[in-house]
């Protein structure tokens, strides 16, 4: 498949893209995991227009603190400037395009390009030009217009997101009803959360959507793919209960969960974590109500569209950063409640390492799946057949309390379908106003 330049926004492209996924019936064209032309449209229409998670507030606590990361394939600097606000801008000099920051984190007064010495303030504005007198009376040189390309930055519960589309809705509208669910993580304690120092980064040879869809709704794989880890740690695989578990989604963000309260947390093999959750249950109930309090550490997984995933109870956030149609860079963090006892920080850090990091006993078997799901699509004949993503068709229910679209039974692919509905909405919409609320 080939497309005209994404920004030309031709209707025949939209028709072709629309034919790739059928979110109603659950069919996916395999080329969406392989085709460089489709990937190019994703970078333009999804990553350059969506709210992309870049940092938690506690990662850049003081003026001058920065980290470097990615929005799609665009390298960005996330920095706390003198106005005490978090700014996000493209990590590429306005002069020749060189990267202006090579450290992954640190503290700086400015970012200076190694090539000719142009320097930029903590807010991305051009602050210094070597031998600036050479540009005197130059008709096209305007310092004010030569700052680093800035993103809009908005935050929710201390989570900072960047967006490069001036026409995108606010982060609040973008998250929609999913904010009510994010509060389960971000607001179950008045102190909110903090990120533990450092993060683990790794490369997988897979399309970014496989892990994103895995976290949004694939409870189905948990007891099969991860049977080895579950048997090694517990001698058995946990049961999931159709009548007491759900998938919920809103605007393409989704969470699959049981109402078992501590199912995920227990797999960290650190009993003090489960003790802490049980001791805090009354507080969770008071802040979140009974229903949501049962999700604080339950068997579950979730994705905020397009590429921020998390595990409640395991207390890990991660992003799936695209590096071409068949490669993904995974960034993994550990978080915990800021008011939790200090000793617990160590428990979470080690527990996540043992389970959900590249050497972790659970994650070990995930990468293998994602890579081979991607690589098999090299075959032209292979790509002629679509993939079935129809588990749980017709499972939507009315629920008196849960927001968004609610589906009975966490073993379901309703959230996969909602993810691809949002995907195709964005891929085919010339402007944000054409993207329906879901």
């Amino acid at each position: 498949m080939s497309f005209s330049h994404p920004q030309s926004r031709q209707t025949e492209d939209a028709d072709a893209l629309r034919g790739l996924v059928d979110p109603k019936q659950g069919w996916l064209d395999r080329s969406i995991f392989w085709d460089p032309a489709i990937y190019a449209v994703e970078l333009e229409r999804i990553f350059a227009r969506s709210w992309i998670f870049v940092a938690h507030d506690t990662q850049v606590p003081n003026v001058g603190d920065f980290l470097t990361t990615y929005v799609g394939e665009d390298a960005v600097i996330v920095s706390r400037a003198r106005d005490n606000k978090v700014h996000v801008f493209i990590n590429s000099c306005s002069h020749r395009g060189n990267r202006v920051c090579f450290a992954e984190a640190g503290t700086a007064r400015r970012f200076t390009c190694n090539f000719h010495g142009w320097s930029y303030g903590l807010d991305g504005a051009l602050s210094g030009v070597t031998a600036e007198h050479l540009y005197k009376n130059n008709p096209t040189f305007d310092r004010k217009k030569l700052g680093l390309h800035k993103a809009r930055v908005e935050s929710y519960g201390g989570m900072h997101f960047a967006n490069f589309d001036p026409d995108a809705p606010s982060l609040a509208d973008y998250l929609g009803d999913f904010r009510w669910y994010l509060d389960i993580i971000l607001d179950n304690d008045e102190g909110g959360i903090e990120f533990i120092d450092g993060n683990i980064k790794s490369r997988l040879k897979c399309n970014w959507k496989f892990p994103a869809e895995n976290f949004i709704g694939d409870a189905y794989h948990a007891t099969w793919t991860h049977s080895s880890a579950l048997l090694a740690l517990f001698g058995k695989v946990p049961e999931m209960h159709a009548d007491r578990s759900y998938q919920v989604n809103a605007n393409g963000h989704g969470w699959e969960f049981g109402t078992d309260f501590v199912g995920n947390a227990a797999t960290l093999c650190e009993p003090e974590i489960v003790d802490y959750l049980r001791e805090s249950e009354a507080m969770f109930q008071e802040r979140l109500g009974k229903t949501r309090s049962r999700m604080v550490g339950s068997l579950s997984s979730a994705t905020v569209f397009p590429n921020l995933s998390f595990l409640a109870g395991h207390n890990t956030f991660r992003t799936w950063n695209p590096k071409g149609p068949t490669e993904t860079e995974l960034h993994t963090w550990v978080f915990l409640n800021r008011n939790a006892p200090d000793a617990l920080k160590e428990k979470y850090r080690r527990g996540v390492m043992l389970t959900f990091s590249p050497a972790g006993v659970f994650e070990m078997d995930d990468g293998e799946n994602f890579e081979h799901c991607t690589a098999s699509n090299a075959g032209v004949v292979t790509r002629r057949r679509k993939l079935h993503t129809g588990l749980g068709l017709g499972s939507e229910i009315d629920h008196p309390e849960l927001k968004g679209h609610v589906h009975q039974n966490q073993i379901n692919e309703a959230n996969h379908r909602a993810f691809y509905q949002r995907w195709v909405d964005l891929m085919t919409a010339p402007i944000w106003a054409d993207v329906p609320a879901r």
Binding site: F102, A103, E104, A105, G106, T107, I196, D197, G198, N199, I200, K201, S202, R203, L204, K205, C206, W224, T225, S227, S228, A229, L231, A232, L233, C269, E329, T332, W333, V334, K345, E346, R349, R350, V352, M353, L354, S357, P358, A359, V361, E363, M364, D365, G367, E368, N369, F370, E371
Partner: protein
């Protein structure tokens, strides 16, 4: 090692006895062959009861940055005691450990072994480099290079054990989907 310089500084330690250095070299080579052969239970036997097996995440920070490039309080790939190491082996032993079947072809090369005395007569600091290749399935070849610093202890029985292992992976972004081996 919490300094911002992540390569061990001591270069003027006195030489140890040649027989001792030979014994420790042979010990590390045999260990590597146990790992190549996935003989993990025998490998665990080489660990002291108080083993700290640590492979931290390393950060690319500027030279002038006083924050440690490696720290115990940061996320790590391994920060294990014997119990954690046993759990990892237990997973690899399950018939449903899909990432282990067909088996990975492991290759552990150990070199640049330096043995240095410590304050204790039965413990030595041992530096080494590890070059590891994992070959999987048809064409996968995953490469890991690491700088290691062990504390090797001779127990009362005369047996050598690994009491500390610090593994400094050279990649800040792991160029692999997983680490289904030990270094």
């Amino acid at each position: 090692m919490d300094s911002s310089n992540t390569v061990e500084a001591t270069v003027d330690a006195p030489l140890v006895d040649r027989d001792l250095a030979y014994a420790i070299e042979q010990f590390l080579y045999r260990e590597a062959r146990l790992l190549d052969g996935e003989r993990y239970e025998e490998w665990l036997e080489l660990m002291a009861e108080d083993i700290h097996y640590w492979m931290p995440g390393i950060q690319a920070r500027y030279r002038a940055d006083k924050v440690a490039k490696i720290s115990l309080s940061r996320m790590a790939y391994f920060d294990d005691d014997l119990d954690y190491l046993r759990k990892r082996v237990e997973r690899a032993r399950q018939t449903t450990a899909w990432a282990e079947d067909p088996p990975t072809r492991h290759f552990h090369m150990v070199t640049n072994i330096e043995v240095q005395p410590t304050e204790r007569p039965n413990e030595w600091t041992v530096h080494s480099l590890v070059f590891n290749l994992r070959h999987r399935n048809e064409a996968e070849q995953l490469e890991l290079t690491a700088r290691r610093r062990d504390l090797i202890r001779q127990e009362a029985t005369g047996v050598l054990k690994i009491a500390r292992r610090f593994i400094q992976l050279q990649q800040t972004v792991l160029q692999a989907k997983n680490i289904n081996t030990f270094l």
